[in-house]
């Protein structure tokens, strides 16, 4: 399966994603500079974490105007798989490929730590290798991961089962204490209506090897490999 990782000025998990895809999952990967428009014919595009444009103004606000994002939008419209991690999630929301927005963490601080997330939907290309309700241990590292959407938007997310992962405790309970950033309804990651675009704040790129303290991120990568890709 072919992956492309977009690289914006200020991306800094681009190498981590590249490493996981190539060295841990054993798949070919291309790095695509933000000024380019040719995605190199991938099956899946990864929009990595980091601080594109320094996160100046608003996270993801400037990156969405990069030439490469037009290609990513076209690719997604054709049904291609697009996963945005952390800053990548923020960019996808800003670009309108995913609904809602990510506000400053409730505690106003950047938080770096492992958290637990509960897999709420398994019929997505990103979670098909998980069991319903499975709890994954995956790190977060962000200052603006507080997911927000208006009530109608939330209803739509629920009706379409677009809430894919939510923050929980180690046993899978969706408690306020296990919600690290104040996200609405403990939302950690969502997909679009067509389910081919996925964004999440936690980092499956940092948790795909036991030596790093968790390999749970592999469930997400394995799901992508197992997904039937169809770019029409």
């Amino acid at each position: 399966m072919k992956f492309s990782v977009t690289v914006f000025p200020g991306s800094n998990c681009d190498h981590d994603c590249e490493y996981v895809v190539r060295n841990v999952m054993g798949q070919p990967v291309e790095m695509v500079w933000h000024k380019e428009t040719d995605l190199r014919n991938p099956d899946c595009v990864v929009v990595p974490g980091g601080f594109s444009y320094g996160d100046y103004l608003r996270t993801g606000a400037i990156a969405r105007f990069s030439p490469v994002m037009k290609s990513v939008a076209d690719f997604a419209a054709k049904g291609g798989l697009v996963i945005g991690i952390c800053n990548g999630f923020q960019i996808l929301c800003e670009a309108g490929l995913l609904p809602g927005a990510l506000l400053r963490n409730k505690g106003l601080q950047f938080i770096c730590q492992n958290v637990y997330i509960k897999v709420e939907q398994t019929d997505t290309p990103y979670t098909n290798a998980c069991k319903p309700g499975q709890v994954l241990k995956i790190p977060i590292a962000h200052g603006e991961g507080n997911y927000f959407i208006d009530p109608e938007g939330l209803k739509k997310l629920k009706d379409n089962r677009q809430i894919v992962v939510r923050y929980c405790d180690i046993k899978g309970n969706l408690t306020p204490e296990s919600n690290p950033n104040g996200s609405l309804d403990n939302i950690a990651g969502i997909c679009n209506e067509k389910r081919n675009v996925f964004g999440l704040m936690p980092h499956p790129d940092r948790s795909a090897e036991d030596i790093l303290g968790s390999h749970d991120g592999q469930f997400i990568w394995n799901s992508i490999l197992a997904a039937k890709v169809g770019v029409s």
Partner: protein, 742 residues
């Protein structure tokens, strides 16, 4: 230059305002064979400041051991470099940003991180980790709270945005830092041997290129500012505050590494303290060449800047480089890719002179060497009378408290001892997916992808010990850092130091400085760990006196096989727990004596360098033989705090807490055995099947060893003195700073 500036008559007042002494001015006149103009005076003023010129410290620093078989680069360049095998080397250095942080904590700390990162990638190394060592007054003071929060926020924002994990550090809160906080930042980078590059200008006619942020009036006289005491006046020198731009630095880092790895450069140097002046004259001087630049070509942010201002500006996120012949266009292309400013501002010459022009007209012309060779002073020193008082302190006058469990709880809640989770949670310590041991254990551990190699790193300082016994205290700083590395199972391969002191012009302060440097040197020699670079921050004074002499040591350790790395917390029910080393019973100089009895005095623990080294060797062999389940060095807070940490710090890596049932070894004062800070000790555990091997290794190295009990249960039991639920210990330890900062 505006003619008005050229014509300014240089008066003794102007000379003094530039921080130059009358005889230094005479020396400048002699070097030039004439009087300097204002611009030239500015050049000497910044380069001969303490911060850049090391006037008072250079003679003593020369006594430090800097060589070793693995040292590829010692002091003198932007960072030291040590070989780690397989064609890889590690570059690292620590630097202070104390004064700017005191004035503007967020920007000061952030630009401090930016500066040290530039020092690393300037060598061709990709930064892989950052560390920091912080000192503040007591957290009960709301002003200190704001300072602490601002500094941590600044460090976090800069490192996080750069995508470089901040993996370790230390924080101490003590009265003596109330008016002078210390912010020391360290960075570590990885480089292939063949890609190491230095800050040298060579090759007559080669282009000198300026890249990065534009030059503004910020930070003019930052270097001289960092070298003078904080007075009420310095709040007026506000232009010395620079605004950090980590995004620009990230671009600069990627572009710089692309240029270096593309073999396009002869030399490169960042613009830190003393800005363009420093980078220009240092590159020329190291390369044995001359340099000629035209300030009119420097990209400027503000209108009407004079050559004096352009040369002295400390605008951040800028670099100066010398391209290989014929590569100028390629350099500009790469910079354009990263949307960075670049301007060819001059050429390398063979005159040995630093010549500055403005639109072709010479405005400064001085020998480059003369700027980098500031006068060397040998200040007077005299032992402060208070040291004898500390030595004479009678421990017997201190009553042993009745409720020892309460003392333990009190110590665990002391912000200096308590977990710094509130701090490191704000740092991205996992980015780049190499961090195997995150903050929470004795040393952080980073893997080197594509190899089995790993790096252990830590940063330590002990101002209070040094204030009581500077020589012994300095030895202990080195020993503690090396012990932290050894507990993780790695071999120490090099260190960097930052010396934070008061005014060297006061004989009592200089006495401390002299003794500390001796202690660092002796420990470094005894352990065979070279000091490959460092930084000196003097004049940390305020109207009520100098700070404690505070040497900070950053240490690097190497794993041939990083899979063996050991963490400090107990692992399994039933594991056997041992004390390596002697328990001791003195309470001198301990945090306990300070917290419980309000006394910062007593005999500093003695450190036998040979005994200490044997412990490190034993710990390493134990780790390499995979005998250890855990290893934790025993330092501030003493034996009881060490054991409590072994029980609960697994939480930092999502491991469960685990109690232990242990005896209290030794004889003598109970409080000394529980809370005293005798050196050369570690608490280790192994599963029962490996007990014999563990004991044999300890014996082999002559390290005293005593089995003290077993891990297990929900409580920490130490003899008949202490029996407390671990959950209670953890609650205080992990949340005490959080509660204060909420």
């Amino acid at each position: 230059m505006s003619p008005t500036m050229m014509d300014i008559e240089i008066t003794p007042k102007i000379i003094a305002e530039h921080g130059l002494k009358p005889d230094e001015y005479d020396r400048i006149c002699k070097i030039l064979g004439r009087k300097p103009n204002m611009t030239e005076l500015g050049l000497y003023s910044v380069m001969w400041s303490e911060h850049c010129g090391y006037k008072h410290s250079r003679a003593l620093l020369k006594t430090l051991p800097t060589k070793g078989p693995k040292v590829l680069q010692g002091p003198g360049e932007n960072a030291g470099i040590v070989d780690i095998g397989e064609g890889w080397a590690v570059a690292f250095k620590v630097e202070s940003h104390n004064h700017p942080s005191a004035i503007e904590p967020y920007q000061g700390a952030a630009t401090g991180v930016g500066g040290i990162l530039r020092d690393i990638f300037t060598m061709g190394a990709r930064p892989i980790a950052s560390l920091n060592s912080l000192r503040f007054g007591p957290l009960t003071d709301p002003k200190v709270k704001r300072l602490f929060a601002g500094v941590v926020h600044g460090i976090a924002d800069y490192g996080n945005c750069m995508g470089i994990p901040t993996v370790a550090g230390e924080v101490v809160f003590d009265e003596n830092y109330s008016e002078n906080c210390l912010v020391n930042a360290m960075s570590v980078g990885l480089v292939r041997h063949e890609q190491i590059i230095r800050g040298r200008a060579t090759g007559v006619g080669n282009p000198v290129i300026y890249i990065g942020a534009t030059t503004g009036r910020d930070g003019i006289h930052g270097a001289t500012f960092a070298s003078t005491e904080i007075t009420n006046e310095s709040t007026e020198k506000r232009s010395a505050v620079q605004v950090a731009d980590p995004f620009m630095e990230k671009l600069l880092m990627e572009a710089t590494l692309e240029l270096i790895h593309g073999d396009l450069l002869v030399g490169i140097q960042d613009m830190g303290a003393a800005g363009l002046t420093c980078s220009t004259c240092e590159m020329a001087s190291r390369g044995g060449a001359g340099i000629e630049i035209d300030v009119a070509k420097v990209p400027q942010r503000e209108k009407g800047m004079t050559p004096y201002e352009i040369l002295l500006s400390e605008s951040q996120e800028r670099m100066l480089l010398v391209a290989k012949p014929g590569n100028e266009q390629k350099v500009h292309d790469i910079l354009a890719k990263w949307d960075l400013h670049a301007a060819t501002i001059g050429i390398v010459t063979d005159t040995g002179r630093m010549v500055v022009k403005e639109n072709g007209k010479v405005v400064a012309d001085v020998p480059a060497d003369s700027l980098t060779e500031a006068p060397i002073y040998h200040p007077a020193k005299s032992e402060p009378a208070i040291l004898q008082k500390h030595r004479d302190f009678d421990e017997k006058s201190v009553l042993i408290p009745k409720d020892l469990p309460d003392v333990l709880l009190k110590l665990l809640s002391d912000p200096t001892i308590a977990s710094k989770r509130w701090v490191y949670r704000q740092y991205d310590h996992m980015v780049r997916s190499n961090t195997l041991i995150r903050p929470g254990s004795d040393a952080a551990v980073i893997r080197v992808k594509g190899t089995k190699l790993g790096l252990a790193m830590c940063i330590d300082g002990l101002g209070s010990y040094c204030s009581l016994d500077p020589y012994e205290g300095a030895k202990i700083v080195v020993a503690e850092a090396a012990r932290n590395i050894a507990c993780s199972g790695a071999e120490p391969i090099g260190m960097t130091d930052c010396l934070n002191f008061g005014s060297p012009e006061k004989p009592e302060v200089f006495y401390y400085f002299d003794r500390v440097v001796s202690g660092l040197g002796d420990a470094s020699r005894a352990f065979g760990i070279p000091i490959t670079g460092g930084n000196v921050s003097l004049y940390n004074e305020n109207p009520s006196g100098a700070i404690d002499p505070t040497p900070i040591v950053g240490m690097m350790g190497l794993f041939q096989n990083v899979d063996i790395a050991v963490t400090q917390w107990f692992k399994d029910e039933g594991d056997l727990v041992y004390l390596l080393g002697n328990i001791g019973d003195s309470i001198g100089a301990s945090r306990y004596l300070q917290i419980q009895h309000g006394k910062k005095t007593g005999l500093c623990p003695k450190l036998d360098l040979g005994v200490e080294l044997a412990l490190h060797k034993a710990l390493r062999e134990l780790a390499e033989s995979k005998i250890l389940q855990s290893a934790h060095d025993s330092s501030d807070g003493g034996f009881a705090v060490t054991l409590a940490e072994c029980c609960m710090t697994g939480l930092t890596h999502e491991a469960p807490m685990l109690g232990a049932k242990l005896s209290l070894p030794g004889s003598g004062r109970l409080d000394g055995r529980l809370f005293g800070e005798a050196q050369s000790r570690a608490v280790v555990s192994c599963n029962p099947g490996q007990a014999a091997q563990l004991e044999a290794v300890a014996k082999k190295y002559g390290v005293p060893i005593e089995k003290i009990g077993q891990a297990g249960g929900d409580s920490l039991v130490i003899g008949s003195e202490i029996n407390l639920p671990v959950s209670k210990l953890a609650d205080l330890f992990f949340t005490s700073i959080e509660k204060i900062m909420a």
